[in-house]
Symmetry: C2
Subunit: 350 residues, 2 copies
């Protein structure tokens, strides 16, 4: 197999078409197919790949909905006995099982490109969809040479390769992605009994907790069914903690304990460049809610060389101003506050 | 009582001292006291108020920890029979009950200035702490004239006055603030079993859900004890929804239903200028993680008059680039994307 394998993509949806566009941009030869003739033709037209010819593919990338992935992977393994097959489903163990069931797990490597979908949703097919995102690879029973081929796909798409065992991946995404979606939706649903004036008391905290509760239900049914075991285990954990607070003789003590445990875990969530945890300091500034103000603020921040690691904007419920918090390295905070106040900004907190 | 009542503040912590600074800045005459001689002296020194003299106060603002508020309010009502008393505790019904217990509820008006505490925490005493924030007023059994006096305090501090009934306030904050804190902490605590590589799969979704789980436990024990009833009712609601998903014969269907219900509620959370819900469109751009890049990006955005309503930054786990999403009015998105691409930015999604 040469440096860029003859690659066939099955599924011309957002992910499949984006992979095709990205690989073509990187100089790969790709073909692409879809059960929908229209989707297939569109993918050919936008240059995601050509129609499959007589040459058998060396690498097959299955990019169909999670619930169909196992069957399509098994069929691809049988159809092209010389091909290596990978997929992009966000749940990995069931697909590995499907490859095992047809006795071809040595030619199957699992992939999970963690594209923007989980984050912002509704993306258009786009060659950069995977840039700077983690791309999980699950070796399963395949040789290292097979992992190297799939890794070359991720690298061509400028993703960050992360190797994990399939079941470990599924347990991890249940806790970092699937259960948080369930919990955010439940916290949002609990607003049901409130009137508009009550909901208007919402602060940035509620907005943060419920932001992903605004994402569309599509995909989640599939994911939940495939990763049910790990999601249920995570919900058991969460429900147990919530019940401890609900049932506690001293709810204050129980909540303090839970918050303290949460503090420790949040500190482990990588902020910048993996591993490094977020130890940023927030500087909150009152910003008139008009175009260009944010630019002025960040220009003034840059003037003292403060690198803004994160930023949050809270709009006032009734006034044309917002509170913008710039998160910077702790050492940068004092000079930043000084510079901003010198520039005429009102620093509400730091 | 003239336009600015002779005002005495009990409690020289963050809130009390900030109220004093703000009222003094607005030309009010304030005195301030604290059980801690050091805190009291500091408040005098920074100009939050003078020592209490022989003149009885016309207005007393109790700014002590929530669990002490009821007793201190009752004592103030007894000590100054001619004074109107208010407080700043984030749970209101128990304080009203305390005022009733001493038969002086006609001279008590509840306040809840929703300062940055719940949002960013760790603020320093600051005259602008309440600017552009909701200030809830609970009339209880006091006359309108008393409400007007307390409202004048909120107005002097540039807060947005919101009138609510005490028990309605407590039920509302349980759902918009207290329970979301419990849930965010539980979602964070559920990361416990994961290794560092697993946690590194975290995306912006988990960061949003767990951001407030990073806030210190301080204060929450008090709040939880005082608002236990409403918090437990909210947890019942949330646990019920989580159990429905956990127990469902078809977890996919159950989760889809929950997400759909959550979608409806999230749409009710005011974004900008109250009432108006967030219908913004996200434009995601790949931004080199170096100082000044964000300024460049926002300058280019401003060049087409796009008003950035919100902004989120996601750092790449392993690369020196980040994905920054600008949220703008839907109509502004297409021209924004065009302008950014013209300026050489890579738009990963819109």
């Amino acid at each position: 197999m040469d440096a860029t394998p003859r690659t066939h993509i099955i599924g011309a949806g957002l992910i499949g078409a984006s992979i095709g566009l990205g690989l073509r941009a990187a100089g790969w030869t790709t073909t692409i197919a879809d059960v929908s003739a229209n989707a297939e033709r569109l993918a050919w037209d936008i240059g995601a790949g050509m129609p499959l010819g007589d040459d058998a593919p060396e690498l097959v990338i299955v990019a169909v909905r999670p619930s169909d992935t196992g069957d399509v992977v098994a069929k691809a393994l049988a159809t092209w006995p010389g091909a290596l097959v990978t997929d992009v489903a966000s749940v990995k163990a069931p697909v590995l099982d499907a490859a095992r069931a047809v006795g071809a797990a040595d030619r199957y490597v699992g992939s999970h490109p963690m594209s923007g979908r989980e984050v912002s949703g509704g993306l258009a097919a786009q060659s950069d969809l995977f840039s700077a995102r983690p791309w999980v690879i699950c070796q399963g029973e395949a040789p290292r040479s097979a992992v190297a081929v799939v890794a070359s796909v991720a690298q061509a798409l400028e993703s960050d390769v992360v190797e994990m065992e399939a079941s470990a991946h599924d347990a991890a995404v249940a806790r970092v992605s699937h259960a948080p979606q369930v919990v955010a939706s439940a916290a949002a649903a609990a607003l049901g009994p409130l009137g508009a004036d009550d909901v208007a008391l919402a602060g940035q905290g509620l907005r943060d907790v419920t932001r992903i509760a605004g994402s569309p239900p599509a995909m989640w049914a599939d994911i939940a069914r495939l990763n049910r075991h790990a999601i249920v285990a995570t919900l058991d954990h969460i429900i147990g903690d919530l019940e401890d607070v609900r049932e506690a003789d001293d709810i204050g003590e129980a909540l303090t304990d839970l918050i303290a445990r949460g503090n420790l875990e949040v500190a482990r969530i990588p902020g910048k460049h993996g591993g490094r945890t977020r130890e940023w300091r927030g500087v909150t500034v009152i910003v008139p809610d008009t175009p260009g103000q944010l630019v002025r603020l960040l220009t003034d921040a840059a003037s003292v060389g403060a690198n803004v690691e994160d930023l949050s904007i809270e709009h006032s419920p009734r006034q044309p101003v917002g509170l913008t918090t710039l998160y910077v390295e702790p050492a940068s905070a004092p000079p930043l506050v000084e510079a901003l106040e010198r520039a005429g900004w009102t620093v509400a907190a730091s």
